[in-house]
């Protein structure tokens, strides 16, 4: 008989597809994401020689004539190679207004430009004639900055900081601080939704776990049905219910509780986000709680009563402590899902109900600032990991029961 691989090696071989799967679906995207947040060589590749010349520049005033000549050449080539737009966008993110400067410069220079500046003594004069920005220090700083492949810019930006002209790091002007308040809002909304899910989910899970078997099945199905329904359908249902001319407002008006011209704004704002997210995430609280509660014999409450404990004492001292692993698991699950929630706030949150994930999506899809999106997402990921570690320290992750 041939000597084959050792059984252990063969057994390990069985895990290869799993490891490959995790690598492709998890580690690779995450790695790309983290890379994007600190590395972007686009400008460095489009304007390589300009960057080389600017490396010797002392960053005061404007650079030498050589820099003007080089960038003019490279912008012309970028136009011909159709990479100009990408470079312009990136430079514009650092100093807004530079996009048009960068884009129009090769156009104004015209075609068939030789090595001599057209209609001027120097390249510097030619460019400044096209736009005065070329004569300003800030423009050249921005270009130099955009050419750095490694940058902490996105991370600073994500926490509302910026690099000043003198290289120091400082808070952005008040009006441009949007991300930190958004993170805080996301945090509060997630905590609020988690608390709401716990308050609503605990009695439901209790009823499912300890009601007679017929009732508990019915209740369990009621909790699970939303799971089987499309998220969009459920969210749309809330729009139908909560909108200005919606069911709830109609009933309130019909009952005379609110006036017809005083209909409550319950959707496209924070209320809508709260209500819909709580509804969507409730099963994630109920299921771990249910699984823990089911394992607590009802006799424990009888035993506590026989020992002289009032129902309240029995609950507080005997029942509640035994459900803590479920409370921890459910809360962690809901909180982590809430903190990254995107669809529901996007649909029913309106202006005031947007969360950090909506901002990440905006930078991914609309502004195409992937670096910033990646930095925002990385910070979110870090927060979740931090939370997990904290939970592990305080409660112990092995005490968590998901089902």
């Amino acid at each position: 008989m041939k000597v084959g691989l050792s059984p252990r090696l063969r057994a390990a071989g069985l895990t290869v597809p799993l490891i490959a799967f995790i690598a492709v679906t998890f580690i690779a995207p995450l790695g790309t994401l983290l890379t994007r947040s600190v590395y972007d060589a686009e400008v460095a590749e489009i304007l390589p020689r300009t960057m080389a010349v600017l490396a010797d520049w002392d960053t005061s005033g404007t650079p030498s004539e050589a820099a003007y000549a080089t960038i003019a050449m490279e912008l012309l080539r970028a136009r011909d190679e159709r990479t100009l737009g990408r470079a312009a966008t990136r430079i514009n993110r650092i100093e807004s207004g530079l996009r048009s400067v960068v884009v129009k410069t090769p156009r104004r220079l015209g075609r068939d430009v030789g090595t001599e500046p057209p209609g001027a003594e120097t390249w510097r004069d030619a460019l400044v004639a096209i736009d005065e920005a070329w004569g300003e220090n800030a423009t050249w700083r921005a270009i130099r900055e955009a050419g750095q492949p490694f940058t902490s810019r996105h991370f600073l930006n994500a926490v509302d900081l910026e690099t000043r002209a003198d290289g120091s790091i400082a808070a952005m002007p008040e009006s441009r601080r949007i991300y930190v308040p958004l993170y805080l809002r996301t945090l509060w909304v997630s905590l609020g939704v988690t608390a709401l899910c716990l308050v609503i989910g605990y009695p439901i899970a209790h009823a499912i776990a300890h009601a007679g078997s017929r009732w508990s099945t019915t209740l369990l199905v009621l909790v699970l049905v939303p799971f089987w329904t499309s998220l969009l359908v459920r969210t749309t249902a809330w729009i139908v219910l909560l909108q200005n001319q919606g069911v709830v407002n109609d009933i309130l008006v019909a009952l005379g509780i609110v006036a017809d011209d005083g209909r409550l704004a319950m959707i496209y704002n924070m209320t809508g986000t709260f209500v819909a997210m709580t509804h969507v995430l409730l099963p994630f609280m109920v299921l771990p709680l249910y699984s823990v509660m089911r394992s607590i014999p009802t006799r424990h409450m009888d035993a506590a009563a026989s020992l002289g404990a009032t129902p309240m004492q029995a609950f507080r001292r005997v029942y509640w402590p035994q459900t803590l692993p479920g409370v921890g698991a459910g809360s962690l699950l809901v909180f982590i899902l809430a903190i990254g929630y995107y669809i529901t706030p996007a649909l029913v949150g309106g202006q005031s109900g947007q969360l950090i994930s909506n901002m990440i999506a905006y930078h991914m899809q609309t502004s195409l600032n992937w670096g910033l999106a990646a930095a925002l997402a990385a910070i979110l990921l870090l927060a979740v990991i931090g939370l997990y570690v904290l939970y592990d320290r305080v409660v112990g992750i092995d005490r968590m029961r998901l089902g």
């Binding site: 009563a305 026989s306 001292r317």
Partner: protein
């Protein structure tokens, strides 16, 4: 007259509103008594305890403790110690925490608590186990903790629902002895539930035999064994031979019955009339087999089917009429008879060892192990 410690008066219980799980129960338990509710599974024993503890409400009737109805007392105000079938120890508390719990809700001082917990642990011989968790204890140790917890707040009445059901036989016997000792030491009233007749016999002052929510007979273990009044009791307690028969003559407490394979005399439990159907019960150890049978007043012929040497006795299975499971035990003493399978033999017994019991449609003749 002093009221009994616990009294059930015409108590009925139905869970579904149709079938009665407990039918018209009347029962009085004296202070300091060890009373056992014995019966097969599903006969309503647990339900009786849970009504007394306050976890279930009687459908009708009254339960009295020290002469007063407990109907309106919630379970936490009844001050009754309960040992549950599966212990119901709190897994998130230590042994000490479990025992201190009833004292904490009673707001006892910490020093008093510690002293009582230590005393209760000493009582069940678990000194030094305070810091353990129930999950780290063996079944027998958990059992002791459960008993200690039911006693630590010094109730006068303790209910135990099959507390030894989950233990192996050796441990069970040891714990039976322990519970007896604790009962004697503390003088509390104990109402104990089991389906094991031997356990009931060993431990109890009195035993109430339950069947389908009714008490068939309530008496001391000895009386239940010697003087069963119902075929169910005769069959459930110890081993017994049952023969269907009909009464042919009566004479005070004694009657003649026709077993189908001969007429014998027997003690008439119910005051039968001629022509009544009865069940005749005779204990296996009271039966003499040839040549001993000659000395008895009542003799029948039988065929030996099976003979087993047990050690202290020979166990002989016989056919008597159409009963093929008639057992006789021949003591292993000098000069005892020998029987071989297939032998036709004569068996005999004293008149008072045969008891003519009321007929019972659900009990066939023969010695059925419960």
């Amino acid at each position: 007259m002093k009221a009994p410690h616990v009294e059930y008066r015409n108590v009925r219980k139905s869970y579904d509103g149709r079938t009665l799980v407990v039918e018209d129960l009347n029962l009085a338990v004296e202070k300091g008594e060890f009373l056992t509710l014995l019966g097969p599974s599903g006969s309503g024993k647990t339900t009786c305890l849970m009504m007394l503890a306050g976890f279930e409400q009687a459908t009708s009737g009254a339960i009295l403790v020290n002469g007063e109805s407990v109907h309106d007392l919630p379970p936490d105000k009844r001050n009754i110690g309960v040992v549950f079938q599966n212990y119901a120890l709190f897994p998130h508390m230590t042994v000490g925490g479990n025992l201190a719990f009833p004292l904490e809700v009673r707001r006892l001082r910490a020093s008093e608590r510690a002293e009582r917990v230590a005393r209760a642990l000493r009582l069940v011989q678990l000194e030094g186990f305070e810091a353990r968790r129930p999950g780290e204890l063996s079944g027998g140790q958990q059992q002791r903790v459960a008993i200690a917890r039911a006693l630590v707040f010094e109730p006068e009445l303790v209910l135990m629902d099959e507390p030894l059901g989950a233990l192996d036989r050796r441990l069970r016997e040891e714990m039976q002895f322990e519970i007896r000792r604790i009962h004697r030491e503390l003088g509390v009233t104990i109402i104990y539930v089991t389906h094991d007749q031997q356990e009931a016999m060993v431990m109890s002052d009195r035993v109430a035999v339950f069947r389908n929510g009714r008490i068939e007979q309530i008496a001391t273990p000895e009386t239940l064994y010697e003087e069963p009044e119902r075929a169910f009791v005769a069959q459930f307690i110890g081993e017994n031979n049952l023969l269907g028969a009909s009464v042919t003559a009566t004479d005070g407490d004694i009657c003649d019955v026709d077993t189908g394979s001969g007429v014998v005399r027997a003690f008439d439990v119910q005051g039968s009339a001629v022509g009544d159907d009865v069940i005749l019960a005779i204990r296996p150890e009271r039966i003499g087999v040839e040549p001993d049978s000659g000395q008895y007043a009542n003799v029948l012929t039988a065929t030996a089917l099976d003979v087993v040497f047990i050690g202290d006795h020979l166990r002989v299975r016989l056919r008597v009429g159409d009963n093929e499971d008639f057992i006789a035990k021949i003591p292993n003493i000098v000069g005892h008879g020998t029987v071989l399978p297939g032998d036709n033999v004569r068996i005999g017994w004293a008149t008072l060892d045969g008891r003519a019991l009321p007929p019972d449609p659900s009990i066939s003749q023969g010695d059925i192990e419960p």
